[in-house]
Amino acid sequence: MKSGTKSLRRWSWVHKWSSLVCTVFMLLLCVTGLPLIFHEEIDEFLHEQVAASAAPEGAPKANLDKAVAEALTRFPGQVPHFLIWDRDDPSALWVSIGKSLDADPSDNRLARVDAHTGAFLDAPDITKRFTYIMLKLHTDMFAGLGGKLFLGLMGILFCVAIVSGIVVYVPSVRKLRFGTYRGGRPRIVRWLDVHNLAGILLVVWTLVVGFTGVINTWADLVIKIWQFGQLAEMTAQYRDRPPPQRLSSLQSAVDVTSKAIPDMQPGFVAFPGTILTSKSHYGVFMRGSTPLTSRMLKPALIDAETGHLTDSRDLPWYVSTLLISQPLHFGDYGGMPLKIIWAILDIVTIVILVTGLFLWLKRHRSAATVSRFVRLNEASIGSRVSS
């Protein structure tokens, strides 16, 4: 056997098994991911939302302390974790509210408040929503961190399948023109052509969406590393201090930060004691205004006792990588046309997965038939020889 043939066999083996193991999960991810591309539109269509008051551009904004207090009146005894500015809707703010400061923020309730009047708008229970169920199936299959990391592993296998797919693509089309679809040939040839064509056309998109998905599964770990790394460094002098008795003003924390970082706007605030800041600081996370820089956050830590700025640094590369992975996975950074393109590419990916599976089933079966045929022949020859 030539060494080229041998290595090709090895690559085919890699392609076959990496795909086979991940295919069912990739199908789940593609199917649940499809509605998630349009989650905002679906939620808007399926669920009533209290509209914020109409305010002219540049109208004065509500005091943030009041807005948060207003949201908390609906959740007595609970505490705010985060205040979030809606990227797409400047007329509303979100307050993420938990049972206690150390409660898991993924169980938080989200309350919407009017950005101009500070009035409470609504706090729907999203856990019964179609999009929430799709999201849970897509991110962790309702199996927590373990499920998430498992899907990440499947994503790595998917990337391996794509790369090995390129290697086995080359000899498979050696005598064919690019883009050949042999419509008149048997089904298995047509499936192979569709699989080859769609696979090679979508290489970059599937790799990018696949790998950014993998990175997203590491989000919890990335945050942990940041907590014990940069965040711990920035707040080292506060380590042994008791948490503040009374919190300084949230509004002034945001104002101080905006003055210190004038070319950016607030993205969200982490309240003292939550996972994204220290127990003694407001973490005010600023963002830029272009599609790219609006995902790149810059935290400023505001002493929640004195209201002064303690420190502000750019996030380390591993957090930035996570942040930039999000739009590239979601496809939510280029308007509705990009979402539609994302959806079509997702459907074509399903076609790749299904044709790949069919090809394996068919070949597997025909290979089994051949070996049974050989075995039968051998048996009949054997019986003839012995008789």
Binding site: I166, Y169, V170, V173, R174, K175, L176, R177, F178, G179, T180, Y181, R182, G183, G184, R185, D193, V194, L197, A198, I200, L201, L202, V203, V204, W205, V208, T290, P291, L292, P327, L328, Y333, G334, G335, P337, L338, I341, I344, L345, V348
Partner: protein, 66 residues
């Protein structure tokens, strides 16, 4: 042999086979990045470049069906 022009008599080299896919890969990568840069024209550029693989897929299948 089905129809002339589809099957090639000579085996292509690896670089011949991968030339078009490589060009498409560069285009797709550009399409993914363009929309990140700015809104407006950059978005449109991204829509166009990312639509090319989809269009090619449809064209090749339709052309091959006959």
């Amino acid at each position: 042999m089905t129809s002339p022009g589809i099957q090639r008599r000579t085996r292509q080299t690896v670089s011949q086979i991968l030339m078009i896919p490589a060009a498409l890969a560069v285009l797709s990568a550009g399409g993914l990045i363009f929309a990140l840069v700015e809104d407006g024209v950059w978005d449109a550029l991204s829509w166009v470049t990312l639509s090319i693989p989809i269009a090619l897929f449809v064209i090749c299948i339709v052309r091959g069906r006959r």
